[in-house]
């Protein structure tokens, strides 16, 4: 098993290099060193990146060179900082080394999470109780506005519709496809699944362009229809439809894009779950005279129910934060605002950080139950480890 252990390490290691079984009271110096060591990498990294950034932005810089530099900084730079820090720690007096070392490993991550997630989250919550410039406290005014102004109410209504419809269609189509493809030959199954799955790799912006082409509309008398839907309609003698202007149905036409993107995800995960249902159970049900549909409903679905919940939750979170599709397709016009897109336009277009922050908090509040569920599940796992 262990092949690397025959390697001889030249300097003899100090005794007690292993994790101390019980943490003795740390001295003041140790604490200082721990904090220092946690901060060294992020600060050096940010300084280095800052310098690199100014070089990379030089107009005349060769673009390929820029890419190569970015690669070097990413791969070598950050790793080099850890190497340097480990070297520094080995210079410390022996009694400090092992108490400080974990912080060299974990410190940078904690500092970055603090700066980029924890601090902003608290700050955004505070901003949601302040006015449009973050100057004065306004209590719950922003929340009142968010839940009464017509644009924001439309955004809330639409987001709720997205969150119900997109996961429903993605999961049902994904499940149906996974179950049907399971009965094909191996090769046919793999190929057909790849086609459904491939949109997962496409950006929301790319997908939006792809579907704007599908929904393309030209008023009658302005040339042949080049969007396939209207091409089909005129082909069977109907009038073309301006799909994206049809309130409230245009919301559904936008949802179709996300369904197209997410079904592959649902399908792949559910397919793996279906394959893990023991064959004996299914065989037994068949011998007992159950038809294929009954086997699917009474045996397969109950066996994969926990996966179904996970897939649905994941899709719901993705849908809840959808921004790009609405932003690119309609910019929120024609009654198509959603919360995540409204948040960006309130802050960046209307320059209202209070309302923007409040909408972000609304996004966060909806995922709090999930956060609690994740933590609980994690703690249960730890107990059984």
């Amino acid at each position: 098993m262990v092949t690397t252990t025959d390697k001889q390490v030249s300097p003899p290691q100090p005794a007690g290099d292993g994790p101390p079984p019980e943490e003795p009271r740390s001295s003041f110096t140790t604490q200082l060193l721990r904090i220092g060591v946690s901060l060294v990498v992020p600060i050096l990294a940010i300084l280095g990146l800052y310098y690199a950034g100014t070089v990379l932005l030089d107009e005349d810089a060769n673009r390929v060179l820029v890419v190569v530099m970015a690669l070097i900084i990413g791969v070598v730079g950050v790793f080099g900082l850890y190497v340097g820090m480990d070297w520094l720690i080995n210079k410390l007096p022996e009694r400090h080394r092992d108490r400080v070392r974990p912080f060299a490993f974990v410190g940078p991550a904690i500092v970055i999470l603090g700066i980029f997630l924890l601090y902003p989250t608290i700050n955004t919550i505070l901003l949601s109780f302040q006015d449009s410039n973050g100057q004065e406290w306004v209590g719950l005014d922003n929340y009142v506005t968010v839940f009464t102004s017509s644009d924001n109410l439309v955004a809330l209504r639409n987001s709720l519709a997205w969150v119900v419809i997109v996961p429903l269609f993605s999961v049902v189509i994904g499940l149906a496809f996974a179950a049907l493809a399971d009965r094909l030959g191996r090769r046919a199954e793999a190929v057909s699944k790849t086609f459904i799955f491939m949109p997962m790799a496409i950006s929301f912006v790319g997908a939006s362009i792809v579907w704007r082409f599908i929904y393309n509309f030209r008023p009658e008398g302005f040339g042949e229809q080049i969007g396939i839907l209207n091409g089909f309609l005129t082909g069977i003698g109907q009038s073309p439809i301006a799909w994206l202007l049809q309130e409230p149905w245009n919301n559904f036409y936008l949802m179709v894009i996300l369904i197209w993107l997410q079904t592959g995800f649902a399908m792949v995960i559910l397919s793996a779950a279906i394959k893990s249902v023991p064959g004996e159970i299914i065989e037994a049900a068949r011998i007992d005279g159950a038809g294929e549909w009954q086997v699917f409903r009474r045996v397969t679905i109950p066996s994969i129910s926990s996966t179904l919940v996970v897939v649905a939750t994941t899709v719901i979170i993705t849908v809840w934060k959808v921004f790009d599709i609405v932003f690119v397709m309609t910019g929120g016009r024609f009654g198509t605002h959603v919360v995540a897109e409204q948040m960006v336009s309130e802050f960046f277009t209307n320059r209202n950080s209070g309302i923007g922050a409040t909408l972000a908090v609304v996004l966060l509040l909806a995922v709090v139950p999930l956060m609690i569920a994740n933590v609980k599940r994690f703690q249960e796992q730890e107990l059984t480890r």
Binding site: T5, A70, P102, T121, T124, I173, G206, E224, I228, A272
Partner: protein, 298 residues
């Protein structure tokens, strides 16, 4: 005796051969129908991007099938988009953003994950619980304060600003995934390495990292696609200046300025899609694993 009875019952309850063949064809037809529906959008874009502009905007792309042998094909659209519309530069900018924004979080997360799994330090448990809670925080929560911070430190609209932002947003998932994997490596192996005198740093680089390649690859692909396809973070922290503009933003701008010039739009869309689709097709297996594990991410 009993065996033969059971077999007979079993056979009796099977539908007739004819019905089974019918079922099999029905399944094949259903699969084919869904696949065709799923492929048509991309196919339309792909075909249009190789047709001359005049034709794209005059007749539907599906007419190429009724007009076989009489079609014109061209690379001009790609040439126009890559050069005069700035997609060539934007492609390189996207690479400059995506590669560090993938490698930096992996490096930082791997060290942290090792510490969480195999080192003792005060606060280990509750810090990790906090990271689990951060998994689903929407990145919208960070946008406004982070932008203010960047403006204060004059970092806004630089590549490092986006690298760091993506690092921050990607770290919780990366640490969570890697810690679960690294923590499941056999402890006997770690102990014997330590008995042989290896330091934590040596165990990490020579033992843990090589053994963790599959999970590192999964997260790398996941993060690569996420950063490459991102519009929001690039829009907010990098902006639309041609020298820094990434490819998703270039496509958004093209959509705004040439919204009805479909020969350009389709070529532009296909350029943005090409790399992620190639990565995806090449490394599908790792990607699926990353997705399964990433199901908890916000």
């Amino acid at each position: 005796m009993t065996a033969s009875v059971e077999t007979r019952q079993y056979v009796a309850k099977q539908p007739s051969i004819l019905a089974r063949i019918f079922d099999r064809w029905l399944i094949k037809l259903a699969i084919l129908a869904i696949v065709i529906i799923w492929v048509i959008p991309t196919l339309g874009v792909l075909i249009s991007s190789f047709r001359p502009g005049g034709l794209v905007n005059a007749t539907g792309w599906w007419t190429v099938f009724t007009n076989l042998g009489n079609n014109e094909w061209t690379f001009e659209n790609y040439d126009a988009v890559l050069n005069s519309e700035g997609f060539g530069n934007a492609f390189l900018n996207s690479l400059s953003v995506t590669i560090p924004a993938t490698v930096i979080p992996i490096t930082i997360a791997a060290f942290a994950a090792y510490a969480f799994a195999w080192m003792e330090f005060p606060g280990r448990q509750w810090i990790f619980v906090t990271i689990v809670a951060l998994l689903v925080v929407p990145l919208q929560m960070s946008l406004i304060p982070l932008l203010k911070l960047y403006v204060t430190f004059d970092l806004n609209q630089t590549f490092p600003a986006v690298w760091l932002a993506h690092t921050g947003f990607g770290l919780p998932l990366a640490i969570y995934l890697l810690r679960n994997y690294i923590g499941s490596l056999p402890s006997s192996m770690m102990e014997s390495a330590r008995i042989d005198g290896a330091t934590h740093f040596e165990i990490f680089t020579k033992l843990v990292v090589p053994l963790s390649v599959p999970v590192l690859a999964s997260f790398a692909i996941f993060q690569f696609l996420w950063v490459w396809n991102d519009l929001l973070v690039a829009l907010v922290f990098l902006g639309g200046e041609p020298k820094v503009r990434v490819i998703t933003l270039a496509l958004r701008d093209l959509n705004g300025s040439r919204g009805e010039q479909w020969h350009l739009l389709t070529a532009g869309a296909f350029i943005t899609m090409a790399l992620p689709i190639a990565v995806f097709l090449g490394l599908q297996r790792y990607f699926v694993r990353g997705l399964t594990a990433g199901s908890v991410k916000g």
